[in-house]
């Protein structure tokens, strides 16, 4: 698996944990998947934790959708 595929798996697993009924699509923003602000915080913190990153939340604030989040995080991991 590539780094991006690893990161994508972690992101999708974390979304599924916080939003069990969400149908995850990479083109949607977390908000569009049904995540309120607390859910979004929990998803992002969980992903950062699983990836062992200590990045500020503000660094991933402006990503437009799930795929873009994966891209940003994959770049940080590698």
């Amino acid at each position: 698996m590539t780094v991006r595929e690893d990161v994508r798996l972690v992101v999708h697993q974390q979304i599924a944990e916080i939003l069990p009924s969400a149908r995850i699509s990479g083109e949607l923003h977390l908000r569009e998947l049904g995540a309120d602000s607390v859910d979004r915080v929990e998803i992002l913190l969980g992903v950062l934790d699983r990836l062992g990153l200590r990045a500020p939340l503000s660094d991933v604030r402006d990503v437009p959708n799930v795929d873009a989040l994966v891209d940003v995080l994959a770049e940080r991991v590698s």
């Binding site: 602000s37 607390v38 929990e42």
Partner: protein, 419 residues
């Protein structure tokens, strides 16, 4: 040298609306109430403004001072993001209606919801410095809400009112740990009030900044305080509360980062150390500049309720203040039996329970007038009697200051007698 909070009180208005009624009235998704963790929001009435809120919060404190003590109030600072004029301070009116000495320094400060803590810390340092032995400083955080349906899910979480904090050498309410603090500030536009009649907010930018600042503040605190540990140094925590669910998320974040505790395992710690501080904020909404002090009141009135130390046990509280823009601080202090006794005299539970419960229709009818509260009209008359239907349903047990309008831009006030 001891210095800290000698007396503390809040005023959270005469009316409130249940958050469920507001969700239903606006057609908001009821599933989102769970993470919000809010029960009611305080609602200002059109004759309440930053001055009346400040005075009504501080009168019970000032009335308990004897004349000699009142003469030692050497500094009055109002902290507000609800300013009334580019030049004239809210504090100038408050000074008059509280009858404070003319030898008092009078000033207003602004840094969104953080400014009151900056003022309290500067007041504590003034008292502790010994430059004027026996001096007191009164800091009053006071705000009004300018929200309506445009604020969406922030509307049910936005409160109104004031917190009055008397700082002196006999810290009966909070004995501040001198020199134990951590700060974090940087420029961002997460929320702001660009005009006297509306707010702007970017919720993710603001919540993420709040959380990033908390981590950085605690790291700065830890760099100053040898051995400080998030899990064991603080018996309780009281934080700025945009909404109660946010504080829960903040606690989980720090437990994860500084103790390695998984979110599911942080629940017991949250219930014991944090939940007592959220009873009042979840019944009032975000008190803006006074929010962390409303949380402190809640904590002190609920010491030991959820398994934490009882009032007879001296307990250390970690406090976190955040203001958009942004600036933030983590600091700490000690509470004990005297804190509980001092605050009990303010009868905050009676005050909150005595607010009139509004229907959604009554609430919606108040908003247009409330949104004009800060607009600098040259002449305006506010008919307090027009709101008798609401006043009659509120429990009022003392005289309250009300705003009757403006005359040549000068705000006019009267005392509303409860008898």
């Amino acid at each position: 040298m001891s210095a800290g909070i000698e007396a503390l009180n809040v005023y959270c208005g005469l009316a409130q609306i249940p958050v469920r009624s507001l969700f239903e009235g606006r057609g908001l998704d009821l599933d989102r109430m769970g993470n919000l963790m809010m029960r009611n929001r305080s609602v200002g009435l059109p004759f309440e403004d930053p001055v009346t809120n400040a005075v009504n919060a501080a009168v019970p404190i000032v009335d308990r001072l004897d004349p000699a003590e009142r003469d030692r109030v050497e500094i009055l600072i109002t902290s507000t993001e609800s300013g009334l004029d580019y030049s004239k301070s809210v504090a100038s009116y408050v000074h008059e209606y509280l009858g404070l000495p003319r030898s008092c320094r009078v000033v207003e400060v602004k840094q969104a919801c953080y400014a009151a803590t900056a003022a309290v810390q500067m007041a504590v340092a003034y008292v502790a410095s010994g430059v004027s032995p026996g001096a007191k400083a009164l800091v009053i955080a006071t705000d009004v809400a300018l929200v309506d349906e445009r604020a969406q899910y922030a509307e049910p979480a936005t409160g109104a009112g004031a917190a009055a904090v008397l700082v002196g050498e006999d810290p009966r309410v909070l004995d501040v740990d001198l020199g134990a603090f951590g700060n974090h500030s940087y420029e961002t536009l997460d929320s702001a009030r660009p005009s006297p009649s509306f707010d702007i907010a970017d919720s993710d930018r603001s919540l993420f900044a709040y959380l990033d600042c908390l981590t950085n503040c605690f790291e700065d605190y830890r760099s100053r305080v040898e051995g400080a540990d998030f899990a064991t140094t603080f018996d309780y925590l009281a934080m700025h509360t945009p909404f109660a669910g946010m504080v829960k998320a903040a606690h989980r974040k720090l437990m994860r980062e500084f103790t390695g505790t998984a979110p599911a395992e942080a629940e017991e710690d949250f219930t014991r150390r944090v939940l007592p501080s959220l009873a009042y904020p979840s019944a009032v909404g975000n008190l803006c500049s006074g929010s962390v002090y409303l949380a402190l009141c809640s904590l002190i009135d609920h010491l030991g309720d959820a398994g934490g130390p009882q009032p007879d046990d001296r307990a250390r509280v970690g406090l976190y203040s955040y203001g958009s823009g942004c600036s933030s601080e983590f600091f700490s202090g000690l509470v004990d039996r005297r804190s509980a006794e001092e605050l009990a005299a303010m009868r905050i539970p009676d005050h909150l329970a005595g607010r009139c419960a509004l229907t959604f229709e009554e609430y919606a009818g108040l908003l247009p007038a409330n949104l004009r509260c800060l607009v600098p009209d040259q002449d305006r008359r506010i008919d307090v009697e027009a709101y008798e239907g609401i006043l009659d349903r509120a429990r009022i047990d003392r005289d309250l200051l009300v705003n009757t309008g403006t005359k040549d831009y000068h705000r006019t006030y009267e005392w509303l007698s409860y008898e």
